[in-house]
């Protein structure tokens, strides 16, 4: 019952506005109706001293200095701060450079949404249906134009779209909530990790202290036994061990160098390809000294390359041979040497055996004390660090300590990292935390463009010219978007939008470093809608993502922000 009552009231209201509109001059908006009710005179809204005959209203000639006598024509459209100034007595500024008392021509658009359109759109021969679906803006039919009333269809369409958008928004908001949850979960994980790391670190510190003590103890006792405790095996064995380690080190290094060489070779080839392309395709007409010089030196370089016989590089096969692990059948058979038990080092200490024991003991004690004293005071070289002269026990203790120290260092680092990550701006509700590490891409012509959230934007050539970094993530900004709505909904629309700034990408030829503005709009799925380079090396990505959706009120109790 109440419902029907409300409806009846609504339609009555609509009826009465319609009735009022009929008696009002064309183009008068509801809030200005009161100025246009008199049947005998019209008073300029901003200049009450100017009283006109009603016939002067909408007579297509501007009489009021504030434009109020022409709500339904374009005759006063020149009263505008953007127009070339002309004297206009009575206007606020004394010139046409003034503001019209009316906001525009009112299209009531019955069946749709009423709106003001700029006076300069009125009677220009164009049906501006987007703004004025009832066609009332072309009442003068200039040039023969007839604008039918399309509000029924347009209104219906609009409502359908609105409904679609609303549903879309809801779905997207749902997705967003999932994202928020994910983000929260990830944040929680980071925090948990942080907690664990802290605890672990504490434990490690204790462990380190223990190990330190243990090491020092062993070391102190070892210093005493140092002199008598011999290294494992004799001189030769030490040498063999050293040589073996050294060779394996060299082999590793060679391996790395080889990898690096190949890598560099690839890069040189890529560069040469780029330069060849540059030389072939550059425009000598530009007369850019930089380009010319570059092409010239490239030509010289290329000519030099061609003339030069390949220097006797080590063939790769030889290197590969060298890289093979040594073994019984190949290279040096280390085992042969390792098993040798010649321990000529021992002989050095054998003279002690000829001394009477007490003398021996006394001398050894004294010598040892002296040595330690001398070592501690830097007089004698401390050869304890010689790996092979160290006891296994000491080595183990030292290694354990160092491992613990390393552990602490890396844990501290990762702690700091996590902490930084927690402090980083991941957008409202930490939302981009959920997207971090994910990328989306889009094909545009010969390129594929990729956006990696909170990381970097990349242009990938399909013709194999390598990838170009279009910017690294710097920050999240807000900016005003002003785009037309699209039927498929893939548009930034109008209003404040998040913009992810990616800067300091690869440098441009003779230009700045590339940068990308990533404009975000609410959508159900992450999608890179469009990429454009509106000016050299400045890219714009338009991206749909639930992360950019409005934070619609979540049903149920709101969750405390954990920040």
């Amino acid at each position: 019952m109440r419902r029907t009552g409300a409806l009846a009231l609504l339609s009555a209201l609509a009826h009465s506005t319609l009735a009022a509109a009929e008696s009002l001059p064309r183009g008068v908006g509801p809030e200005f109706a009161k100025f246009y009710t008199s049947k005998s005179t019209f008073t300029c809204i901003g200049n009450p001293s100017i009283i006109l005959e009603p016939s002067q209203v909408n007579d297509d000639s501007c009489d009021c200095p504030d434009g109020s006598d022409e709500p339904g024509t374009a005759a006063c459209a020149h009263i505008d701060p953007l127009s070339p100034e002309q004297p206009l007595p009575g206007s606020l500024t004394g010139t046409t450079n003034a503001t019209n008392a009316l906001p525009g021509f009112w299209c009531s658009n019955a069946g749709h949404v009423g709106s003001y359109i700029p006076f300069l759109y009125v009677n220009d021969g164009v049906c501006d249906y987007e703004l004025c679906c009832d066609g009332s803006d072309e009442s003068a039919h200039v040039g023969g134009v007839q604008c039918e009333n399309r509000c029924d269809a347009i209104g219906k369409d609009h409502r359908r779209l609105e409904e679609e958008r609303r549903q879309n928004k809801e779905r997207s908001a749902k997705r967003r909530r999932t994202l928020v949850k994910e983000a929260r979960e990830q944040r929680r994980r980071v925090e948990a990790k942080l907690g664990a790391l802290k605890a672990e670190l504490e434990g490690l510190e204790h462990k380190k202290a223990d190990l330190q003590k243990r090491y020092e103890d062993i070391e102190r006792s070892e210093r005493n036994s140092m002199v008598k405790v011999k290294g494992q095996g004799g001189k030769l064995e030490i040498l063999v061990n050293l040589a073996k380690n050294r060779i394996s080190e060299l082999r590793n290094a060679l391996d790395k160098v080889l990898d690096q060489r190949d890598d560099l070779q690839d890069r040189v080839e890529q560069l040469e390809e780029i330069l060849t392309k540059l030389k072939d395709e550059y425009n000598p007409n530009f007369n850019d000294e930089g380009v010319k010089a570059a092409v010239k030196s490239w030509e010289d370089y290329a000519a030099g390359q061609a003339g030069e016989t390949k220097s006797d590089n080590l063939p790769d096969e030889d290197i590969m041979e060298m890289l093979k692990e040594d073994g019984e059948t190949f290279g040096i058979n280390w085992a042969e040497f390792e098993s040798s038990d010649a321990s000529d080092v021992d002989v050095v200490y054998n003279w002690e055996a000829y001394l009477p024991r007490p003398v021996n003991d006394f001398i050894r004690e004294k010598i040892n004390a002296l040595r330690i004293w001398a070592m501690d005071n830097g007089i004698l070289a401390d050869n304890r660090s010689g790996a092979n002269s160290e006891s296994r026990q000491l080595t183990a203790a030292r290694e354990a300590l160092e491992a613990a120290k390393g552990d602490i260092l890396s844990k501290t680092r990762s702690l700091e990292e996590q902490q930084r990550d927690l402090e980083k701006d991941y957008g409202p509700g930490d939302i981009f935390r959920a997207l971090k590490g994910k990328c989306i891409s889009s094909d545009v012509g010969e390129y594929e463009y990729e956006l990696c959230w909170i990381d970097r934007t990349t242009q990938k050539s399909k013709k194999g010219h390598g990838n170009t970094n279009m910017g690294n993530f710097v920050r999240i900004d807000k900016d005003m978007a002003d785009e037309e709505e699209r039927a498929d909904g893939k548009s930034l629309g109008k209003g404040e939008r998040m913009v992810l700034r990616y800067e300091n990408g690869q440098g441009c030829w003779n230009g700045p470093n590339r940068r990308t503005d990533v404009w975000l709009a609410c959508a159900e799925t992450d999608e890179l809608w469009r990429v454009s380079e509106s000016e050299k090396c400045v890219y714009r990505m338009e991206v749909g993502t639930p992360a950019a959706c409005e934070d619609l009120q979540e049903p149920g109790p709101s969750v405390k922000d954990e920040l």
């Binding site: 374009a74 459209a77 953007l82 070339p84 002003d482 469009r530 050299k536």
Partner: protein, 983 residues
């Protein structure tokens, strides 16, 4: 300074020279110049300059060109004879037939050919297929009328040594042809105006076989170029033959199969201190001397269409187009010459006190201007105009070469261009933004990147997926799209356009007669030979709507790079020994090339759809005399710098007086990024270019006018709207240009030919007949300008109606804060506006007019006119137009509107457009400078079409320097009707 000893003076000179040199080679200046020839690097130029030096240095010099008297005959306004050129001490001669035509228009024409070459009695080297005649088809491209012989011209005096012909209107003109040596003295009212070969510099390099000389012995270590040239310098008597047979510049060698063949002539303007014209140069309107001296150039003005790229200012170096039409001016007299030659041309200019006239002893000696015209090949063909007013010159020249085509009305609006709008979305976005910021514009442009890899007539598949959708959005507000189409056709597989160009054999050939291949934007390319009728026919087929898919009725064309620009060619253009249709060498037709291409496009656009009869719009970069008939031009690739803004004004003025007034410079400057103030000032200036386009290089930041930010955005919007409100007056000015060749923006010497102080003023101008005097600000941080006032009329500030305290011949300083473009209304004019600031010119079509009456000094008369047609079709040719004359009579206190051409009402059957125009009237009349006695008047009487009614008037009394002004509202008269308002 004390008088220095000999040594020190030498050192001072040396140091002075050094500093002069270092100034000349300041890095900014030196960038481009050496890519283009100086006179000394051009064989024929240096030979003729040397010839001139020799002749002028010798007191006994006698020109070796004599008319054989018995050879001559005068008949029906034409003298025909033979010039004998003595070529050696043995008295051997070469026969050069001469024709002197006296035309009904009062113009005289002197044509000299070479008999042996006419008859084909010469041998070409290298087995060249080139034609043997001197190029004689320039007139087929350039001359469209005015060549009827003056049958009334008659011989006034004749003896064995000379002949005098009287001709022209009331036989006020005469030409005295002297035989020994040959010279002509053109007189008006009995006094000399223009003399040909007065200085004896006539030089027609006749054909000669190459005589192989034994190679000079080479001394060891002295084989390089420099020593050679020095050797030849040591023998000044012998002619320098080093550049007769081939010539190398920048690594390109010209094979010159016909050897030396230049034509040169001195033309003296007797008693004339100022010469104008021969665009395009980044140089003052009043041309400078070119033979050195303080403030003068060292180099001749050069005319050799070239892609100059970042051209330098205040220089006689060549630019993108050439019009070899020169006007000389002195108080109350103007004369001119038109040098019809399409080959590379250099013009030396010197000025000096008259020295040859003993009768002038004791009288004040006058300054004369001596010019030396040097062309590489072709006929000597020169037209002589005897004025006496600048308007006579532009009219007579227009009669010969044609006038500005009636333009598409939209093309007078604002054009938004950039290299490049990157996608159809980008275009649509700019379109929306212009509306959003309420900035009117008519045309958005696409530079080369819209194509699929620089293949013209294609679209980039990825970024322009829906060109029709884009075109439709533009069309919804009456807007247009201009796409670029250049003459180089990409040489690549699977491109039907190049395949057809090759299979139909329609491309320019190289010297061997094979298709010419060079480099331009797409890389390897071929060039359409628009000299060939078959090529033009084929070209037209490419523009049909179903051939060039994605184009619509609102698509128009931009022709760039048509000098032609060939990146790897000599001086960035084609080798001179290339061959065009009819086997004419490129050398002969180079300066015509751009025009033939634009012409091909123009005609292509008239046949896109059967029955579609609309005026084409084609913008060109290269041009020649006659290009005005087929479109607009712009001044090429300028820079975002204040001095380029300043230079654009004399350049545009120069185009106007040289018969090609539909001209403009890139607003904002092509290269670089203009600071906000510069961009804003450039829009204010650009609103007064006949062709008004903003453009930017691909490396420049985006600079659509709404991006610049406040307060500049508002100021630019106002400048755009100022242009749009005055469009009715601009269109009227174009009509006058179309009718009689009148410039659209006019320099002071043109409007006030008696005011000597204004002859060199080239930074201010009048717009059409409106009496609007504009002086754009072209300097940074400048908030005042000095305007030179040419007369004693009253001048009102356009925006405030203040009476400017002016004095004839004096400068007046005007306030010119950022938001103001200095613009004055000269008393005595009436002009029309449309004040509703619509989105495009198309949407203003049916708006009522505002008439502005700038009442003359002492309340006298004011006059003006308005021309309107449908702005698109050729219906105007059958009378479908409105042309009103407005006369304000201060004494009778009336303003009336009559048909400007005296057509009777109803004499033209109204077509659809005229019928619709019945609904368009005069909304308001603004009268500035009305007498105080009008104050208090409330209404006026209006009479029209048999009715009389009253209209309301509001009179605002004078105050604080502002003139009294009146506004009549709701006038209620039809714009096309006769009417009268009585105040």
């Amino acid at each position: 300074m004390h008088v220095p000893g000999p040594l020190s003076s030498k050192w001072t000179a040396y140091l002075g020279l050094l500093s002069a040199l270092s100034a000349a080679f300041a890095p900014a200046v030196a960038v481009k110049e050496h890519d283009f020839k100086k006179c000394h690097q051009s064989g024929f130029c240096s030979r003729n300059r040397a010839f001139a030096d020799h002749a002028l240095a010798s007191s006994s010099w006698q020109s070796p060109y004599n008319i054989a008297p018995e050879s001559g005959s005068f008949r029906d306004g034409q003298y025909k004879g033979v010039i004998l050129k003595t070529i050696n001490d043995n008295g051997e001669t070469v026969r050069l037939p001469i024709t002197i035509s006296f035309l009904e228009s009062g113009t005289a024409r002197v044509t000299v050919d070479e008999e042996k070459r006419q008859k084909g009695e010469i041998e070409l080297r290298h087995g060249s297929k080139a034609r043997k005649e001197r190029y004689n088809e320039a007139e087929r491209w350039v001359i469209v009328g005015g060549t009827t012989l003056d049958k009334a011209a008659k011989v006034d005096y004749e003896d064995k040594s000379q002949l005098t012909v009287k001709y022209g209107p009331s036989a006020k003109f005469e030409a005295t042809i002297k035989f020994f040596p040959f010279s002509i003295d053109f007189k008006r009212d009995g006094s000399s105006q223009i003399k040909l070969n007065d200085q004896g510099l006539l030089n027609i390099e006749h054909w000669r076989p190459k005589v192989e000389k034994p190679a000079p012995e080479k001394k060891e270590g002295e084989s390089d170029e420099e020593n050679k040239t020095e050797e030849t310098k040591e023998e000044p008597k012998a002619e320098n033959e080093s550049t007769w047979w081939d010539e190398t510049f920048g690594g390109n060698t010209d094979t010159k199969p016909r050897g030396p063949e230049s034509v040169a002539l001195d033309i003296s303007f007797v008693g004339y201190e100022h010469v104008y014209g021969i665009p395009s140069h980044a140089s003052p309107l009043s041309l400078k001397q070119t033979r050195g001296g303080d403030g003068n150039y060292q180099e001749p003005y050069r005319l050799y269409n070239a892609d100059v790229f970042e051209y330098i200012l205040d220089s006689p170096m060549t630019l993108y187009g050439s019009i070899p039409f020169m006007q000389a001016h002195r108080k109350d007299s103007a004369v001119g010459v038109f040098w019809l030659n399409a080959a590379e041309t250099w013009v030396d200019i010197t000025k000096g006190k008259d020295y040859k006239n003993p009768l002038s002893l004791g009288t004040k000696s006058k300054t004369s201007t001596h010019t030396h015209w040097i062309s590489e090949s072709g006929l000597l063909d020169v037209f002589v105009f005897l004025g006496p007013t600048p308007k006579d010159l532009t009219a007579k020249y227009g009669e010969l070469t044609g006038t500005t085509a009636m333009p598409q009305e939209f093309s007078l609006g604002y054009h938004q261009c950039r290299w490049n709008y990157v996608s159809d979305d980008d275009v649509k976005d700019v379109d929306r933004k212009m509306d959003k910021f309420k900035m009117p514009y008519d045309v958005i442009w696409l530079d080369i990147e819209y194509t699929d890899e620089k293949k013209y007539f294609t679209w980039d598949k990825h970024s322009f997926t829906d060109p029709i959708g884009m075109g439709k959005q533009l069309d919804s507000h009456g807007r247009k799209l201009v796409t670029i189409i250049d003459p180089h056709i990409k040489n690549v597989d699977n491109y039907p356009v190049v395949a057809e160009l090759k299979s139909k054999d329609l491309a320019v050939k190289n010297k061997d007669g094979n298709i010419f291949e060079g480099w331009c934007w797409p890389g390897s390319s071929h060039w359409i030979d628009a000299f060939s009728p078959a090529a033009r026919e084929w070209w037209a087929s490419l523009f049909k709507y179903d051939a060039f898919k994605g184009t619509m009725e609102n698509t128009w064309i931009w022709n760039d790079m048509n000098e032609p620009s060939v990146f790897n060619g000599p001086e960035t253009t084609m080798p001179k020994d290339n061959l065009h249709a009819g086997n004419w060498e490129h050398r002969d037709v180079h300066n015509l090339n751009g025009m033939t291409f634009q012409n091909a496009t123009y005609h292509a656009l008239t046949s896109r759809k059967p029955g579609e009869l609309r005026r084409p719009f084609v913008l060109t970069r290269a041009f020649f005399a006659g290009s005005q008939r087929v479109g607009a031009m712009w001044t090429g690739d300028n820079q975002a710098a204040w001095d380029h803004l300043a230079a654009s004004i004399p350049m545009v003025l120069s185009q106007g007086i040289a018969g090609f007034p539909f001209a403009g410079a890139d607003v904002g400057g092509f290269f670089g990024n203009p600071e906000k103030e510069l961009l804003t000032r450039w829009y204010q200036a650009g609103a007064f270019y006949p062709f008004f386009r903003g453009h930017a290089h691909i490396d420049a930041r985006r600079r659509e006018p709404y991006l610049v930010g406040e307060p500049y955005t508002t100021i630019i919007a106002a400048a755009l709207r100022l242009r749009y409100s005055l469009l009715p007056s601009w269109y009227t000015a174009f009509r006058h240009a179309h009718i009689d060749g009148t410039p659209i923006v006019k320099p002071m010497f043109y409007t006030h030919p008696s005011e000597e102080a204004g002859f060199a003023v080239d930074d201010q101008f009048f717009v059409g007949n409106t009496g609007l005097l504009a002086k754009p600000v072209t300097e940074k941080d400048k908030t005042t300008v000095d305007v030179w006032i040419p007369d004693a009329e009253v001048y009102y500030d356009y925006f405030t109606y203040y009476i400017i305290p002016t004095a004839k011949g004096k400068n007046v300083t005007l306030d010119a804060p950022m938001e103001k473009v200095p613009l004055l209304m000269r008393g005595g004019h009436v002009f029309a506006r449309r004040d509703v600031p619509r989105r495009s010119s198309a949407l203003m079509k049916w708006d009522d007019y505002t008439l502005v009456v700038a009442v003359g000094r002492d309340g006298r008369k004011a006059e003006g006119d308005l021309y309107v047609d449908d702005g698109d079709s050729y219906q105007y040719q059958s009378g479908q137009y409105i042309h009103r004359r407005f006369i304000f009579d201060g004494a009778a206190k009336s303003l009336s509107s009559v048909d400007a051409e005296g057509r009777e009402p109803g004499s033209v059957a109204e077509g659809e457009w005229l019928k619709r125009m019945r609904g368009v009237g005069v909304d308001r009349i603004v009268l500035v400078g009305v007498p105080e006695s009008w104050v208090g008047k409330k209404s006026v009487k209006v009479e029209s079409e048999g009715n009389v009614w009253e209209a309301k008037m509001e009179v605002t009394p004078a105050a604080e320097g502002r003139a009294a002004f009146a506004v009549v509202r709701k006038v209620g008269v039809r714009i096309g009707a006769d009417w009268r308002v009585v105040f």
